[in-house]
């Protein structure tokens, strides 16, 4: 019960606290404390120093053990930089936004933790909806028209998507009719246990609905649009939060149902659907990288691309699945760095258009080099982690029964790399005529510290490759019936 309260109640509590205290600094310190606590606990659980016994509707398994640290890590860094961000980022009418900022963050942590730890579809559904509700106002932080539109679209589309996911869940109960599970609760473990008895027709239907419904949150094409709008128009920490942890949480649901589907006859079908989704997302990213002229949108599309890669890997299975699990971690780390640095650039140039930005490397040396390095790392250049995970995924694809997918993927990735690089390097290098470059030092801030630490982490995890992580991922793939 203790760890349960640490992980779930304390965030809720601090949300309430944040509602009552008005001083931003105080709110910040409370939230930071909570996030640190959360991080420590989730790491302890991950390392397995003790097995938490959680109450009804909640439990931990290898999958949630992996996803929980991802969440709390992202959350911790986001909170860490948030305060300085709020100090600097004052637009005309973002005051009230500040008031609820930390409250909503805490609520988000509460909901997201609940979603990850829940072992019941209904609970999961409620919690995920909760995350949507907590994120939507945060998207509207800037209080301008774009933010408003983004929020509306995100809220509306995702709510509908979630509704579809609910239908999927109902189908799942239907599929349980006439089996031992009939009338039982919608607990994952039972379903996984008796999966083979489920009715295939309804199972298929339920998989489709849950996948498509949650796709609106994961950002699998063609349900990606609202996601892109939201990520590109929210303040950078929130964008990092969304592409770092929220999408992953939504992915968790898909993986749950995939895990249930796995022993049944629907397995192949589900894999195909996942592969189609992944390829579609890659294709969408490929198309939009050609015409994107707003660097935050570009990053958003990049996270579409990487979630697509992960989905593809899960769908392919085998080694690709393991690679996908690693990719989840690395991608979330890398996305934080990208969005933070992009946030710095936005703060300096006051525009998201690529045209408006020039010679970043001279004006903001720190952020410039950091965003370049993180771009290199996101495009799978060693020694950063993404390289290794993509290596695994590629090898998995090559030796799956559909090697042609590798060719397609590589082609798309190559062009994504080209266009992203073109856009980014133009920002970094381009020197407008008549513009005097004065080489002045950019102040070294907490945000740079955070990004550097994260990049280090990105290298360290890849190079050291701790056994706990590897074993955990091996366990996950065991749960998914993957023989390595």
């Amino acid at each position: 019960m203790f760890e349960f309260s640490i992980l779930i109640f304390i965030p809720l509590l601090s949300a309430v606290v944040c509602y009552f205290i008005t001083n931003i600094r105080l709110q910040f310190s409370v939230t930071l404390f909570v996030s640190a606590l959360h991080l420590i606990f989730s790491l302890m659980i991950f390392i397995g120093w003790y097995q938490p016994e959680l109450p009804f509707y909640f439990s931990t398994d290898s999958l949630s053990k992996l996803f929980l640290p991802v969440l709390s890590n992202v959350y911790f860094w986001v909170v860490l930089v948030s305060f300085s961000y709020l100090k600097k980022q004052t637009t005309a009418n973002s005051e009230e936004g500040k008031k609820y900022y930390f409250l909503l963050l805490n609520f988000y942590l509460f909901a997201n933790t609940a979603a990850i730890l829940s072992n019941h579809f209904g609970m999961y559904w409620v919690a995920v909806e909760g995350t949507t509700l907590s994120v939507a106002p945060l998207i509207y932080y800037y209080r301008n028209e774009e933010a408003l539109e983004a929020m509306w679209k995100y809220l509306f589309l995702v709510s509908i998507g979630i509704a579809f996911a609910f239908i999927g869940i109902l189908f799942l109960t239907l599929s349980a009719n006439g089996t031992l599970l009939e009338g039982k609760q919608l607990f994952f473990p039972e379903f996984v246990k008796h999966a083979s008895e489920l009715n295939p027709v309804w199972l298929k239907a339920s998989f489709i609905f849950i996948f498509v419904g949650l796709s609106t949150k994961i950002g699998i094409a063609p349900m990606h649009s609202a996601d892109v709008d939201a990520t590109s128009n929210s303040p950078s920490p929130i964008a990092a939060l969304m592409s770092g942890s929220l999408r992953v949480t939504a992915l968790l649901g898909v993986m749950r149902i995939f895990q249930i589907v796995q022993p049944t006859s629907t397995y192949q079908f589900a894999k195909t659907i996942l592969i189609i989704g992944g390829l579609l997302s890659l294709f969408v990213a490929f198309v939009f990288m050609f015409k994107v002229n707003n660097y935050k949108r570009m990053l958003a599309y990049s996270s579409i691309e990487h979630l697509g890669i992960i989905t593809l890997g899960i769908g392919i299975g085998g080694l690709a699945f393991v690679g996908a699990m690693y990719h989840v971690i690395y991608n979330s780390l890398n996305k934080i760095v990208l969005f933070f640095t992009a946030g710095n650039i936005h703060r300096k140039y006051k525009t998201r258009e690529v045209e408006g930005v020039s010679s970043v490397l001279n004006i903001l040396p720190w952020s410039g080099w950091l965003i370049m390095i993180s771009f290199l790392s996101i495009s799978a250049i060693p020694p950063f982690g993404i390289f290794f995970s993509e290596l695994m995924i590629f090898e998995g694809i090559l030796f799956s029964n559909k090697p042609w997918i590798l060719a397609v993927t590589m082609f798309l990735l190559l062009f994504i790399f080209i266009n992203m690089g073109k856009t980014l390097f133009q920002m970094l290098y381009k020197k407008n005529e008549g513009e005097i470059i004065l080489i002045k030092k950019e102040r070294f801030e907490i945000i740079h510290f955070a990004t550097i630490v994260l990049l280090m982490l990105l290298i360290a995890i890849a190079v050291i490759s701790p056994n706990i992580l590897h074993d955990n991922i091996v366990n996950i793939s065991k749960d998914f019936g993957i023989k390595l």
Partner: protein
């Protein structure tokens, strides 16, 4: 009894598809809420328990009283025009609804072979979902979109009762709460939109593009 309610539900959907007044939507939402409440209360006539009444009660409060009032309030505050602006003829819309309804009924009839489900509530629930989507797709006003979303939710609820699985009450309540908050947020958003963008239909939301 359940079937009767479902049929009524479907009739409400027909009305929804031909009406051209915003107010009518609110009324329909109320009506559907009422139907769902009755549907929930109905089993308890035999074995009565206060505890079991919590859920229907909340349902009634949320779906029949609070949300419709709230929507009405928004309509009055922003004095949104009384007529909806359909993008296609009501007649075509009706045809579309009928067509999809037929498809859904046939399909669910086929599906009911493989698993025992009461076809009529199931099908009508599903039709409600489809119609909700149609409403969103073919109407311009954001408030109507919200209404469409609610219709969809009602459909899901009906359909949930049809598949004869009792979700734990806590989760049902959570669902209701979520829906309520969503609608609440949407209302705020619509307010903001009408104030900042001077308009309350989707045509004003066209800024974000590549």
């Amino acid at each position: 009894m359940q079937n009767v309610l479902s049929i009524l539900f479907c009739l409400s959907l027909f009305y929804l598809s031909v009406t051209s007044r915003v107010k009518a939507y609110v009324t329909i939402l109320r009506f559907q809420g009422l139907l769902l409440t009755v549907l929930l209360v109905f089993p308890f006539i035999h074995h009565f328990s206060i505890f079991a009444l919590i859920l229907p009660a909340t349902l009634f409060i949320v779906k029949v009283i609070v949300i419709p009032r709230y929507i009405n309030k928004i309509i009055l505050d922003l004095d949104i025009k009384r007529v909806i602006e359909p993008t296609i003829q009501p007649f075509t819309f009706l045809l579309l609804v009928i067509f999809s309804m037929v498809v859904v009924f046939v399909a669910s009839n086929i599906l009911s072979k493989s698993a025992d489900i009461e076809t009529i509530p199931f099908a009508s629930g599903f039709t409600a979902i489809v119609v909700g989507i149609f409403v969103i797709i073919f109407r311009k006003k954001l408030i109507i979109h919200v209404a469409g979303f609610l219709v969809l939710e009602n459909g899901i609820f009906l359909f949930g009762t049809a598949v004869a699985s009792e979700l734990p009450m806590m989760i049902e309540l959570g669902t209701l709460l979520d829906i309520f908050v969503v609608v609440f947020l949407m209302g705020i958003a619509i307010n903001k939109i009408s104030s900042t963008l001077a308009g309350f239909d989707v045509t004003v939301l066209g800024r974000l593009k590549d």
